[in-house]
């Protein structure tokens, strides 16, 4: 009698909510959902697209009418609130991506008490309000394993990292990645991390990392991440994706053979479970999506990690056992 760890935990989460008054039946009918995306918008092959694929997963159980709106870079707080109010007017549930939405959601939620809100990556992993839930991610845990994979697979003993300035959790990805690599191979050389905003910067950062000798580069850059992947793959080196299982993304098919793994951040799972828990009841407060819940992890698609799978699995178990701790902030 076996049950996959994350599945069991996810269902446990669903049933916990049931005990708190949520539905005891599969949600049925048509549901209207508003989705407030981060600045990268749809097609970023990462954060926003994973959230949209969560909506797609909801469609396995119910009809969904989706309205979505995208934030502009560095927009004022008032614009976010206006966007949320627009979405709340026509939808039963509103999902907002990124910490910048936290306060705007809390204010909007007060004005729309019948609408259920989810903030993905809320500030300091806290939300308030009777109709507000939050989804936090221990992304450093998945990145730790990706870092260990990089350390086990590098030939030059030099690896790099490129983050996105507007990508929530990029620093957590960096922290976990570097710690996992160092713990696995103490003599490894990790080039100073680069943070980018545009695709041009991403290409330049990738070139710099490659010129520095890195044969594996982790990208957690959001929309500009595709440029990193293309640049690294174009140079014949290996790249680690983030958020989605980027090996499988059709838009990155030409670089597929160079994608070593991806550090997963299952925003889709959080979106799906928020829907299940909100369809007829609600579970307020924040939920931590970690390794135990399969909310984070690393992808094995492509089979490039098959030879080091036992090492990585042992590390995964050590993280689950808390024998090893992945730091959430980059070490000096």
């Amino acid at each position: 009698m076996r049950c996959v760890r994350g599945t069991a935990a996810a269902v446990a989460l669903a049933v916990t909510a049931t005990a708190c008054g949520a539905s005891a039946t599969t949600p049925k009918g048509t549901f209207t959902i508003g989705l407030a995306l981060e600045a990268g918008g749809p097609g970023d092959l990462s954060y926003n697209d994973v959230a949209v694929s969560g909506i797609d997963r909801i469609r396995t159980t119910a009809e969904v009418r989706l309205s979505q709106a995208t934030a502009r870079p560095n927009e004022p707080e008032g614009d976010r609130e206006t966007r949320l109010r627009t979405l709340a007017q026509g939808n039963r549930m509103v999902i907002a991506l990124g910490p910048a939405y936290t306060r705007a959601v809390e204010r909007t939620a007060k004005a729309f008490p019948k609408v259920k809100f989810l903030v993905v990556d809320p500030e300091r992993c806290k939300v308030s309000g009777a109709n507000v839930a939050g989804a936090c991610f221990r992304t450093e845990q998945g990145a730790y394993l990706a870092g260990a994979a990089a350390a086990l697979k590098t030939k030059s003993n030099v690896i790099g990292f490129i983050g996105g300035t507007g990508y929530p959790d990029a620093a957590r990805f960096q922290a976990g990645y570097e710690a996992g690599a160092k713990a696995t191979r103490p003599d490894i050389r990790i080039l100073p991390a680069r943070y980018v905003t545009t695709e041009k910067e991403a290409r330049e950062a990738a070139k710099q990392q490659l010129d520095g000798g890195a044969d594996i580069v982790f990208q957690a850059a959001g929309r500009p991440g595709a440029a990193v992947i293309a640049a690294v793959a174009g140079a014949g080196r290996q790249v680690i994706g983030s958020g989605a299982d980027q090996y499988h993304l059709p838009a990155l098919a030409s670089s597929r053979e160079h994608i070593l793994t991806s550090a997963l951040k299952r925003v889709d799972l959080a979106v799906f479970l928020f829907f299940v828990l909100s369809a007829d009841g609600f579970k307020t407060g924040t939920e931590n999506y970690d390794l135990k819940l399969d909310g984070v992890g690393y992808a094995t698609a492509g089979g490039r990690l098959d030879d080091v799978a036992p090492r990585l699995d042992a590390l995964r178990l050590a993280l689950l056992d808390r024998k090893v701790k992945a730091p959430a902030t980059p070490q000096k």
């Binding site: 009698m1 076996r2 049950c3 996959v4 760890r5 994350g6 599945t7 069991a8 935990a9 996810a10 269902v11 446990a12 669903a14 049933v15 916990t16 049931t18 005891a24 039946t25 599969t26 092959l45 990462s46 697209d49 994973v50 949209v52 694929s53 797609d56 997963r57 469609r59 396995t60 159980t61 958020g243 989605a244 299982d245 980027q246 090996y247 499988h248 993304l249 059709p250 098919a253 991806s262 997963l264 299952r266 889709d268 799972l269 799906f272 479970l273 299940v276 135990k292 399969d294 992808a299 094995t300 698609a301 799978a309 699995d313 178990l317 689950l320 056992d321 808390r322």
Partner: protein
């Protein structure tokens, strides 16, 4: 503590039969009805991949399509033999499942007469024995698993039947009981790996009886018969394994070897084995703990009659073998349930509960014995808590891990050993106290406990599955192929197992093929199943699809997803 069992003289049984077989038939029929109650209306498996593992073996044995379960644990063919006729009646997996549950209930109802025989053997008067055995046979340890297409539905009957026949053989020394004991012992080898323990204990008994005593010749004949039956059982296992696990099944032996050859592995094994005993004790409302103490006392007290000591030895040896072997063979799944798992020992739970009940009914159970049973539950639960430490919070919990005892702790989401021990202890005190007001009160309380604590977990199980039932396939004709990666069945990445086993059971008209999505669909295939990776839209899961193919999103249990692609040009087939 006077707990010596009295042999059944047979007068009680004869008196009961004087009224004809109808009371027994009616009581068994009522057992069947009550056993069907928790799973009423459910026509799909809950436990994956175990239930499909048995169901697909039954389908194949009935002449239907097989499957390739390479890499999965070996689900043996003995239990599927009982289910195979269901596939001669219908192809529809839902209807088959309903018939399977009826088969389970019919077999499970045999526990009533067997339990009655145990109580009579333990010296309980026929009247109370009839009432109490009927109620005791409904323990959640037997009824819960009877609501699933798993070998655990029939193992309690097999093991109890074997124990009774073996005891009869020890006392009478005649060939009939010897052969009657050998048959379930050999059959159990085809049912589950735990059957090997039963067979080994049976073999030791026969060897001991052959070495000394008046039944030497009978033991030798029974030994030869057992050997022949065992050979046939092993050949049958090999045949089933070769057909359904062509690349081999998951190797439990290497894990067992690692566990039994290192100090930490041994400590883990002994702890998890004691955890099973704790789960059995608390899951039988403390009665099992009384029974366990009684069995140990009978074995070690020199004044106990020799047949009683042998019966106790058979019971305890089987218990030790099953608990130690099953925990040693379990891989480290980081699950709390692996340390307090009641299912593997559930085949003996009823026996211990009956021994405990017999002690209570014969007024052989003193307050000291009851206190000892409560103390035992606290000691085992306390040790579990101490050994697990922080892991009790960090390890995963499944709803199927401790169904019987979850309600005693007030949670299916965390294991609370001390709360559960306290609840079971309180229930034992209530049962002990009720005995002062007569057997009917005890029976009524036990009935309420057994039925209600079967209904609670079974309704939770049903909810868990219904959080996201898998969609029906859009086509029920033509070939069906599953992406090779999604069909790589091993325990390291168990998710494919859970998807594959669901689909293998749902695809009733043909065997599942495997394919490489980069190569397109194999010839004659109308439906393919591909994995649904994180962050990918369902529509983008198979870029190499032929023109015109459509997709259907599918999932189960809230975190398992896959995508079904189908050729709309294929006929849709009969709706199932």
């Amino acid at each position: 503590m006077t707990i010596t069992a009295e042999p059944d003289t047979g007068t009680g049984a004869r008196r009961a039969w004087a009224a004809g077989p109808w009371p027994l038939v009616a009581a068994c029929a009522l057992q069947v009805a009550v056993r069907l109650l928790p799973s009423w209306g459910r026509d799909f498996p809950l436990i994956h991949p175990d239930e499909p593992g048995y169901l697909l073996a039954a389908r194949w044995l009935a002449g239907g399509p097989g499957t390739d379960f390479t890499g999965m644990p070996f689900y043996q063919g003995g239990y599927p033999l009982l289910l195979a006729p269901a596939y001669w009646v219908t192809d529809d997996p839902g209807r088959v499942y309903s018939i399977v549950l009826v088969v389970n209930a019919l077999v499970g109802a045999l526990l009533f007469p067997l339990a009655r025989a145990v109580l009579l053997r333990c010296g309980v008067r026929p009247g109370p024995a009839s009432v109490i055995s009927w109620v005791a046979a409904l323990l959640p340890a037997t009824t819960l698993y009877g609501g699933l297409a798993m070998s655990d539905a029939v193992l309690p009957v097999i093991v109890l039947g074997w124990l009774l026949a073996a005891d009869r053989f020890v006392r009478c020394g005649t060939l009939g009981p010897a052969l009657l004991a050998s048959a379930p012992a050999a059959y159990s080898v085809t049912v589950h790996a735990r059957g090997t323990i039963v067979l080994l204990v049976h073999a030791v008994l026969l060897a001991a009886m052959a070495a000394r005593g008046p039944a030497r010749r009978v033991a030798l004949i029974a030994g030869a018969a057992t050997g022949a039956a065992c050979g046939a059982a092993l050949a049958f296992n090999a045949w089933v394994s070769g057909a359904l696990y062509p690349g081999g099944s998951f190797d439990l032996g290497s894990t067992m070897q690692d566990r039994l050859t290192s100090p930490s592995g041994l400590l883990r094994t002994v702890t998890a084995a004691s955890g099973q005993l704790w789960a059995m004790s608390t899951g039988t409302w403390g009665l099992g703990a009384v029974g366990l103490i009684v069995a140990v006392a009978v074995l070690f007290r020199r004044s106990s009659p020799q047949p009683d000591r042998i019966a106790a030895a058979l019971l305890l040896a089987t218990t030790a073998g099953i608990t130690l072997a099953s925990t040693a063979a379990l891989p480290d799944e980081h699950r709390v349930g692996n340390f307090a798992y009641g299912r593997y020992i559930a085949c003996l739970s009823l026996v211990y509960a009956l021994v405990g009940l017999a002690a209570l009914l014969r007024r052989a159970a003193s307050a000291r014995l009851v206190a000892g049973a409560i103390g035992l539950m606290f000691a085992l639960g306390g040790w579990l808590l101490l050994y697990l430490g922080e892991r009790i919070d960090t390890y995963a919990v499944s709803f199927y891990d401790f169904p019987e005892i979850g309600p005693l702790g007030g949670s299916y989401l965390e294991l609370r050993p001390l709360v559960i021990s306290a609840s079971a202890g309180a229930l034992l005190l209530v049962l002990y106290g009720l005995l002062r007001w007569g057997t009917p009160k005890l029976a009524a309380a036990l009935l309420v406990l057994n039925v209600s604590l079967t209904l609670v977990p079974s309704s939770v199980w049903r909810f868990v599955e219904e959080t996201m039932p898998p969609s029906a396939l859009p086509r029920t004709t033509g070939g069906v192929a599953i992406e090779r990666h999604a069909a790589e069945l091993d325990l390291v990445e168990p998710e494919p197992q859970l998807v594959y086993s669901r689909l293998a059971n749902a695809v009733w008209w043909t065997g599942l093929q495997q394919f490489d999505p980069a190569q397109g669909p194999p010839p004659g295939v109308c439906t393919v199943i591909v994995s649904w990776p994180a962050g990918v839209q369902a529509a983008e899961t198979w870029p190499q699809r032929p023109p015109g193919w459509r997709y259907q999103r599918s999932g189960a249990l809230g975190a398992l997803w896959w995508v079904v692609w189908y050729d709309p040009a294929c006929p849709s087939g009969a709706a199932q």
